[in-house]
């Protein structure tokens, strides 16, 4: 039952006000500038260009390329994160031996600053000084181009993303698993449902709401991937591993081409909103069914 009680305002307004206060100006500001040609350096007077920036971007192959790369990285890495994270969370929840240690150990990557992660990754992937090269050489694959060839570089970036963010999935799914009632598992155990059947018919459907949320958040955050790419490949070779945010970063913080960056941000917002809405719409029937 949802109820009506004036106190609901007391509950929601703090969050609403804070988010509104913080977000409204950036929104208004960037929406305004997205219709202007505006550079901070070299300082140039702002000029209204209408949809010029948008048209520019949409006809810029780099934009489409970057959007494609980002989508690839986001979907692949989030997919892997979810699969691995769910498996690990299940294992932890079923109390594998040493669960206490795993619990803390598995969380660690998430606690390291992304910049540091990328820097460390670069060291480990270093073709001459890194341990991975030595390891691969032992198998007869010396000096693999981990960061200098497009497909390898994308792979490396995805692996690093998975390393860093799977803990997020583990943590949230573990919390979700812990709120599931025990008694239904007892009922299923009596039916001699195999672990797989229990997973398929009970755990997964009951975990679906939180899974949806976790994957959604990870997707959004993955679309904003920047530090990892910036540090690991700098977007190279060429622009082949450049992501949307890195592109925005170059335009915004190196060239201070604010009008263009704002338009880019809005396209990005629209892009993700569409993806998000599609994602939620696709999942909706399942969520309803298992409610």
């Amino acid at each position: 039952m949802t109820r009506n009680d004036p106190i609901k305002h007391f509950f929601i307004w703090p969050a609403l006000i804070i988010v509104l206060l913080i977000s409204i100006f950036p929104l208004v500001y960037s929406l305004t500038t997205s219709f202007m040609s505006m550079r901070l350096v070299p300082p140039m007077p702002a000029r209204f260009v209408g949809f010029g920036n948008y048209a520019d971007l949409l006809s810029n192959p780099r934009f489409w390329h970057v959007a494609g790369t980002t989508t690839l990285i986001a979907f692949l890495s989030v997919g892997l994160q979810y699969v691995i994270g769910l498996s690990v969370a299940l294992a932890l929840n079923s109390r594998v031996p040493g669960e206490g240690i795993f619990r803390v150990g598995f969380l660690l990557p998430m606690l390291v600053a992304p910049v540091a992660v990328a820097l460390v990754a670069r060291q480990i992937l270093n073709p001459t000084m890194g341990p991975l090269n030595e390891f691969m050489s032992a198998f007869g694959f010396p000096n693999l181009p981990f960061l200098t060839q497009t497909s390898w570089a994308l792979g490396s970036i995805i692996v690093v993303e998975v390393w860093q963010w799977t803990p997020f999935v583990i943590l949230m799914l573990l919390a979700g698993l812990q709120t599931l009632p025990d008694d239904v598992y007892e009922a299923a155990a009596l039916e001699n449902a195999t672990p797989w059947q229990q997973f398929r018919d009970i755990t997964f459907p009951m975990l679906l709401p939180i899974s949806t949320a976790v994957v959604f958040i990870r997707l959004i955050e993955s679309y904003k991937i920047m530090d990892t790419v910036f540090v690991m490949t700098g977007g190279g070779p060429g622009v082949s591993t450049e992501t949307l945010t890195l592109f925005a970063y170059q335009e915004g913080f190196k060239k201070f081409n604010l009008g263009y960056t704002s338009a880019l941000s809005f396209l990005f917002l629209i892009f993700i909103t569409v993806i998000g809405l599609v994602y939620l719409a696709v999942l909706k029937p399942y969520l309803e069914k298992h409610k």
Binding site: M129, K255, F256
Partner: protein, 459 residues
């Protein structure tokens, strides 16, 4: 001495120890001397530019002293205070290498910043490999001339090719090839020799008369070809090298020669950081015997090898934003920081990142023998001195909208290095984009800025 009791300066630069520690050490001395206070705020190198730009343009009084890369100066000039006249005289002033004093610190005739670090590319090589008799013999046999520090870029590549022996864990050379990893300065070093015609000063990047991009002329193409060739003679995955890896590769004994800033020499000579300490030779950058003349569109031949020094990066600058309310104290602090004594000490203190920029720095051998062997010190200082005092000096590019220009360059460079486009195609694209950018920013304004950055009088 002036008394600045109660004054607290905020100075910002990149995260230490490089440069930041120089500021900090000087801060201590200055605080004792003047009773003021200096707070050094450090930001990551890649974030320093946006941080300074935003605080300058928003008009916030956040910093009193900024230490920054000279290439950014054009974007800052509107917001910087002029150096007080009394600092621009006397022996300490004259002691600053002219290239800094007369060119890099000056903007439209005004001195807006003070160099606090000297930077130029030089050449480093492995004495032990070069003076090994077997190597010398084999080299002579193969190339028909004696093995010695490269005098020309052709020799540079020959040597690299000769020493490129992956089987022995040895490669020819190391340069930065990574996007976002100082790559284009290495390209500029290759190009500078072929394009800096003594008759056409300041014509390396743009035609200083029309502001047309020169970046795709045959001199550039040749430079880029050689740069790409060098990447093939470098350790595997050198395409992901930034300058840090270059140093590491050299200090790790992986390469026979390399080019780059003075750090290579200092790091490689330090037994704590290097496997090749005591075997580090230094020399000026290789030269050329023909230079492209963009005016005549001809290659001009020279009898002698022309040594062109490229002021890559150009050394850190210290300046005072005009929004600062403590300008007097700020300039006083900068003066102290860059005074011959304090700076000389900084130049030989490991980790300050300060390279010689005063004439006195390069003449005081005694100071340097602390970290170098005699021969190393002599060669190192000689190379440094030659670099800042060379007859034919190529200045680095400094333009408003700097990052817009370099981004285009970086992207095309990466493509060319990866073999996706030919050097000519890459540079043609760059030229086209540069011209577009120039038009967008205003050709006249850019032209004026370019001329002034190259030390040319305004038209």
């Amino acid at each position: 001495d002036p008394d600045f009791t109660g004054v607290e300066l905020t100075a910002t630069t990149q995260t230490g120890p490089y440069i930041a520690s120089a500021l900090q050490i000087a801060a201590k001395g200055w605080e004792e001397k003047t009773c003021g206070k200096v707070k050094v705020v450090e930001f990551p190198w890649s974030e320093l530019y946006p941080k300074i730009v935003t605080s300058l343009t928003s008009g916030e009084d956040a910093f009193d002293v900024i230490a920054f890369a000279p290439a950014w100066a054009p974007d800052f000039t509107d917001f910087l205070a002029e150096m007080p006249a009394e600092m621009r005289q006397g022996s300490a002033w004259e002691d600053i290498a002219p290239v800094y004093r007369e060119q890099l610190m000056v903007w439209n005739g005004k001195v807006l910043s003070q160099t606090m670090d000297g930077d130029a590319h030089t050449y480093t090589y492995r004495i032990d490999l070069f003076e090994n008799a077997d190597n010398q013999k084999a080299f002579k046999e193969k190339y028909g001339y004696d093995l010695a520090p490269a005098k020309t870029w052709k020799q540079y590549l020959d040597i690299a090719e000769f020493f490129n022996q992956p089987a022995n864990n040895l490669w020819g050379t190391a340069e930065a090839f990574r996007r976002g990893g100082q790559q284009f300065w290495f390209l500029f070093s290759h190009v500078a020799g072929y394009t800096s015609h003594p008759d056409n000063p300041g014509g390396m990047f743009f035609d200083p008369d029309t502001m047309d991009a020169q970046v795709n002329n045959p001199g550039w193409v040749r430079g880029l070809e050689e740069y790409i060739r060098a990447s093939k003679l470098a350790p595997p995955n050198a395409l992901n090298f930034s300058f840090g890896e270059v140093n590491a590769a050299f200090a790790g004994g992986q390469v026979a020669e390399s080019i780059g800033w003075g750090d290579t020499g200092v790091i490689a000579a330090d037994p704590k950081q290097s496997k090749v300490a005591g075997k580090v030779g230094s020399a000026p950058l290789p030269g050329v015997d023909e230079i492209y003349n963009y005016k005549t569109k001809m290659w001009d031949k020279f009898d002698q090898v022309v040594q062109t020094s490229f002021m890559a990066f150009g050394g850190w600058q210290a300046a005072v934003p005009s929004s600062s309310t403590k300008q007097e104290a700020a300039w006083n602090y900068i003066q102290y920081l860059t005074s011959p004594e304090v700076s000389a000490q900084a130049a030989i203190t490991g980790g300050t990142g300060v390279n010689p920029y005063r004439l006195s720095h390069t003449t005081n051998l005694e100071l340097w023998s602390k970290i170098f062997s005699d021969r190393e010190a002599k060669e190192y200082l000689g190379a440094q001195k030659d670099a800042v005092t060379a007859k034919n000096i190529a200045l680095d590019m400094r333009l408003p909208g700097y990052f817009s220009y370099t981004e285009v360059l970086e992207i095309e460079l990466s493509k060319a290095l990866a073999g996706e486009v030919t050097p000519q195609q890459a540079l043609d694209t760059v030229a086209e984009q540069w011209n577009k950018l120039t038009d967008e920013f205003g050709r006249d304004k850019q032209l004026a800025a370019y001329r002034s950055s190259m030390g040319l009088p305004q038209k």
